[in-house]
């Protein structure tokens, strides 16, 4: 809670530049002498600049990138800038921070607003100095007149004016001369890092409110489980227990101290008997289930769902991925405080406004009686348990008013209840002509949905609480995200130019296992499948897989990227196949409209055990104009490691009755001693618009690993996670 409303209104001598993003609701910028909703950049007389972004910091460095753009636009030092956390009381409504579009969407708007703010101040300086606007400029806020420093600055101008000026960008037509980028394009150190290494309270977990009590939920063993016998055992009389709450199949406990809440919740989960539905699909045959279960079939590319043929040499393959957990390192939590009819929620969910609407609907409150304040937790990589924890904390707070209630999910709660990235199955076939060109391509993707966010009143039934309470809300039907972004079909359309292409998606009509968006959505498995199959086709004709791709590409940026990747990875020096050392390639343009990433992986497969050791990854990324190169490199590195972990280690375990991955032992991820060397190269594209990078490496990494394993030991693994078997090595 950096800026309280009061401080905000009391600022003396300030300039606020307001704007809204295309597609985001325009909010009133200036009420009677106030600067209410919709403010974006507050330039204050004391030399501080506060930015109110609608996007949240998820540990991806978005805050620093926005600060860089504002610093350049205002021509000030980045150290003057601080970022407010999203708060439905005063931040703009930009819905969710997702799909790596933050910089793409907000970046240009922030830069322009800052430039307009600077213009406004320079105009004021010019009239005060009796000079021509063209003769004044500024350096870090200090006004310069015909190249000479003056005693005037933004800050003295604002203090002397002693007014709260509001510039509404949408109403101002300013012809902006592009000022030189100073911070933009440089690897400015992230603003949030020092506080994190000195433990200065960066996280939502660090909020401690006076008189705060601790809550735990008593999770049912599985979805659709119902309470058979409600028996609280000794929980009620346990030390520190303040209240046990039951609403239908929702059970929670509030206690004075955290450990007391934990012990009471354990006692309750032992004493309550549940009826388990036992209706989960067979984990061993989950991909058969995906293609057999009733689904909505639609054509993504091509005229019909019928396969096409060209008479060439036919090849086909089936690829699968399992369910994956977001597995944030911090289990979800939230704080909720209900007093005098007003509910305040602190949450680390990705969208405060949608959260507010959905919680208000679930709890039957007026939206304007609910306030949601964002504070960051550990990385989430999509829709995890954060929204659910916020809704549950709110429900508990209504039952336990007047003191703040802190709800913490345990590790097992997070693993068993977060909405996972869906399992997928892909059938692909292609015809090759005599010149090793693809003449027909048929592609069918089978999946559960890749979104189930409680985004509004109609989707509030996606909350676990809404499903468990006595009067449950209906669970919304699975929803497909339309192209060009796509959900299950994200990146299902190959970027390659084939003579004929047919792509069909099959969205399962039911969701027996909770699913929602996980970094990259369907792109991870689609790129894995397309890029594995391209390698198989090249292998069938014994041609270089990189050259085979180039021969099918029309997009110049894609071709340049692959050429550079060949160069920096030393592709032409790769060893011959079957020796135990493998090199593999994977490439995609995320969503076919965002950043391009190509990855070459080098690894070894031990002949005696099939054990895979990741040695080195070389990536090239084209993200258009880059605001913060080191930030982009860091996101690509992180994406490669996370995807490598999904690809060789991760698989959500479940039985007929319940999810059985409940801790890090039953859901292992890549460890420090398994981390490869990573090298990321950036294409210089300063004349192109900025593209998000957060999810672009997921698919290419998976394919690069699969292709490297095949190259190392001639085992083509089409089912994720990749596990190789012992084999006989070709002695080179």
């Amino acid at each position: 809670m950096k800026t309280s409303r009061r401080q905000f209104l009391q600022a003396t001598g300030s300039l606020v530049v307001c704007f809204s993003l295309p597609g985001c609701a325009k909010q009133s910028a200036s009420g009677a002498g106030t600067t209410a909703l919709g403010n974006r950049i507050l330039i204050n007389w004391d030399g501080r600049v506060t930015v109110y972004p609608g996007k949240v910091e998820l540990g991806q460095g978005i805050g620093t990138a926005i600060a860089q753009l504002v610093a350049d636009g205002l021509s000030i030092d980045i150290g003057r800038i601080s970022l407010a956390d999203v708060d439905t009381d005063f931040s703009p409504n930009e819905s969710y921070t997702y799909s790596s579009i933050s910089i793409q969407q907000s970046g240009p708007a922030f830069a322009r607003a800052a430039q307009i703010g600077r213009r406004h101040l320079l105009q004021r300086a010019a009239s005060m100095l009796g000079a021509d606007l063209l003769d004044v400029s500024s350096v870090d806020g200090q006004i310069v007149l015909r190249g000479k420093a003056t005693n005037t600055s933004y800050w003295t101008l604002l203090r002397e004016a002693n007014t709260h000026d509001v510039v509404d960008v949408d109403d101002v037509a300013v012809d902006l001369q592009g000022d030189a980028d100073v911070a933009v394009g440089n690897s400015i150190a992230r603003l949030d890092i020092p506080d994190k290494v000195f433990a200065l309270g960066s996280f939502i977990q660090d909020i401690r409110l006076p008189k705060m009590v601790h809550a735990r939920i008593v999770c049912p063993p599985a979805e659709r489980a119902t309470i058979a016998t409600y028996n609280v055992g000794t929980a009620e009389s346990m030390s520190g227990v303040q209240k046990i709450i039951r609403d239908g199949n929702f059970v929670a406990v509030v206690a004075q101290r955290e450990q007391q809440a934990r012990l009471a919740a354990n006692e309750l989960s032992q004493s309550i008997e549940w009826h388990v539905a036992g209706d989960l699909p067979d984990a061993q045959h989950i991909h058969d289930w995906l293609s057999d279960t009733p689904s909505t079939v639609s054509n993504v590319v091509g005229g019909s769902a019928k396969p096409i043929g060209s008479g060439g040499e036919k090849h086909s393959a089936t690829y699968t991925r399992p369910f994956h957990a977001h597995a944030s390192i911090a289990p979800s939590m939230a704080i909720a405080f209900f007093r005098d009819g007003q509910l305040t929620i602190w949450s680390h969910a990705q969208g405060m406004y949608p959260l507010r609407t959905a919680i208000a609907h679930t709890l039957r409150m007026d939206v304007d009686k609910v306030r949601c304040i964002y504070k960051q937790s550990a990385g989430c990589y999509g829709h995890n348990g954060a929204d659910d924890a916020a809704c549950e904390a709110a429900a508990i707070a209504l039952e336990f008013p007047n003191v703040p209630v802190r709800l913490q999910w345990e590790r097992a709660d997070e693993f068993a209840w977060e909405p996972y990235g869906s399992a997928m199955k892909i059938d692909v076939s292609a015809d090759l002509d005599d010149d090793s060109m693809v003449t027909a391509w048929n592609y069918d993707v089978f999946s559960c949905a890749h979104t189930s966010r409680p985004r509004d009143a109609a989707n509030a039934g996606n909350f676990i609480y809404a499903q468990h309470k006595a009067n449950p809300l209906p669970i919304p039907a699975p929803r497909s995200i339309p192209q060009p972004a796509g959900g299950e079909d994200r990146n299902a359309v190959p970027l390659y130019e084939f003579a004929a292409t047919n792509v069909v998606k099959h969205l399962a009509s039911s969701m027996p296992i909770r699913v929602s968006s996980l970094r990259g959505l369907g792109a991870y498995a689609n790129v894995f499948a397309i890029e594995s199959f391209m390698d198989e086709l090249a292998g069938a004709r014994n041609v270089d897989p990189l050259g085979f791709r180039l021969a099918h590409l029309g997009d110049d940026r894609a071709k340049e990227l692959l050429t550079k990747l060949a160069d920096v990875s030393g592709w032409s020096t790769r060893p011959k196949g079957g020796t135990g050392i493998g090199w593999g390639l994977g490439f995609a343009q995320f969503k076919n409209l965002s950043s391009y990433v190509g990855v070459v992986f080098e690894l070894t497969v031990a002949p005696s055990t099939g054990r895979i050791e990741l040695r080195r990854a070389v990536a090239v990324c084209d993200a258009g104009k880059i605001v913060n190169p080191d930030g982009v490199v860091a996101q690509i590195e992180g994406g490669i490691i996370q995807s490598a972990s999904w690809t060789i280690k991760e698989c959500l375990q479940f039985s007929k009755n319940q999810i059985t991955s409940r801790d890090w032992a039953s859901y292992p991820i890549l460890r420090f001693d398994e981390i490869p060397q990573i090298e990321v190269h950036l294409m210089q594209r300063s004349n192109h618009k900025s593209l998000g990078v957060g999810e672009s490496a997921q698919g290419p990494t998976a394919a690069a690993i699969a292709n490297a394993v095949s190259h190392a030991c001639s085992q083509r693994i089409r089912n994720l996670p990749i596990k190789a078997s012992a084999y006989d090595k070709i002695v080179s």
Binding site: G59, F198, A378, A665
Partner: protein, 156 residues
């Protein structure tokens, strides 16, 4: 029950159920932000603190076990004005994404550098094998630790 121990150089006495996890006491009673709750199962390392110079998982350590001991958290290693070489190394290498795992990684690395001021990359990796980072910031953290080791060596 009253318990006395030293936290970040300060002797304290608290009245608490001795079975309470040390992590709860540090976070909730002493309001320290360094150690984090990640699993409560000794599996992730987010909660690590230094007890008598060793990296220990505070989520599974009952507070009674630290009676009379020296406990150091991330706050106690250094400050913005006087950073520990590891903290400086993490800033210099921009060695984190979300930063939630960083507490444990630095605490364990500090114990390693105390024991072995000049570790190899392989030693750093194996020492940290019990620390999970979901964001994939490990390559930068490894660089930061090696940088801190060489800068500390340079100062001696």
């Amino acid at each position: 029950m009253k318990l006395a121990f030293t936290i970040n150089g300060q002797e304290i006495e608290i009245d608490v159920d001795p079975d309470t996890p040390l992590l709860d006491v540090l976070r909730n009673d002493l309001e320290l932000n360094g150690p984090k709750f990640g699993c409560g199962l000794a599996q992730c390392g987010a909660c690590a603190v230094s007890i008598g110079g060793k990296s220990v998982r505070s989520c599974v350590t009952p507070v009674r076990a630290v009676a009379g001991r020296l406990v150091v958290t991330l706050e106690g290693l250094g400050t913005a004005d006087a950073p520990h070489p590891l903290q400086q190394g993490f800033i210099d290498e921009q060695a984190l994404q979300c930063g939630y795992c960083v507490n444990g990684v630095i605490i364990t690395a500090a114990a390693l550098l105390d024991r072995n001021p000049n570790p190899t990359e392989a030693e750093v990796k194996s020492e940290l094998a019990g620390h999970l980072c979901r964001c994939g910031a490990q390559p930068r953290m490894i660089r930061a630790i090696l940088r801190a080791a060489s800068s500390a060596a340079g100062q001696k």
